[in-house]
Symmetry: C2
Subunit: 159 residues, 2 copies
Amino acid sequence: MGVTRWLDDSEQEIWRAFVTAVEGLTDHFDRQLQRDSAMPYTYYEILVALSEAPNRTLRMSELAGARGSSRSRLSHAVARLEEVGWVTRRTCPTDKRGSYAVLTDAGFAALAAAAPGHVTAVRERLFDQLTPEQVSALGEISKAILAGLGCRDPRPPAR
Amino acid sequence: MGVTRWLDDSEQEIWRAFVTAVEGLTDHFDRQLQRDSAMPYTYYEILVALSEAPNRTLRMSELAGARGSSRSRLSHAVARLEEVGWVTRRTCPTDKRGSYAVLTDAGFAALAAAAPGHVTAVRERLFDQLTPEQVSALGEISKAILAGLGCRDPRPPAR
DNA sequence: AGGGCTGCGTTGAGCGTTCAACAAAAGCTA
DNA sequence: TAGCTTTTGTTGAACGCTCAACGCAGCCCT
């Protein structure tokens, strides 16, 4: 492995601004949802994914894959969402290992109630702060980052 | 309150890309630090802040303020860092309420050991993926977002 | 000096995430 | 078919964060 390529002053400044902005945004959105709709952002995303799926139903693994979430995380999350009555589980008839997560009417209603506040927050804190050029640049930047994250570093698994 | 200004298709696409990219980045950096240096990113930031402070010492509240962290969070974090031996607390002689957090030699060493891997990850996954124009655009965008987050919404506190 | 108010830091409970371990079903190979 | 590997999903412990509540010290005011 080679020598570390440290960040110069300008890069450091950009990095700090980026980190702080991202922390601030996620914090803001998370608090808004928690305060106004009693759900963390992650759960909001789960509800969104289910609401867009045919029959408002998805296999656990599909749901985990769609978001970058781990199976364990999803299992815990769905357990919680089931307690609250926003999601139910159904076992899969063709593959007895699998199970479905289904959005209930109450879950859909909770999502519908939460969406306006969330979208408004996103618009106010993100889109309204940027020029149209910056918005499209942010899109390109995000896609470039995503491309750089996909399946790299073909090191053999640690164990 | 007015009508919700929903996101159009293009905005939705940008928003999803942004969210996924940010989640992917933070996940990647957090795992890298946890795996290679046994510390979460948040703790890394605390160590950095202390290492840059005079005498490697900061008041708890200054430390909390520097990062956007709550007092409670910092208190828990420093307690943990103290257990590991990377930080110690000293009571403030002039203000007996206050306490100092001090980076130990072991803490400095841990930071020095962690930094190259972390910086390399940041460079590879962020800076190397973007053109110089995109990098500077990202800086401007981050600053605009930060400006939009500062002390807004002068609604009276909920209670 | 006495009586608030404010600010600093800590504490404990609750929650969400991670990690490692596991059970059960499916698939694969001989 | 028997034996292995892989896939799917769950579980429990450990950890970090949040929130509300608290103890304590400084401050201000009369």
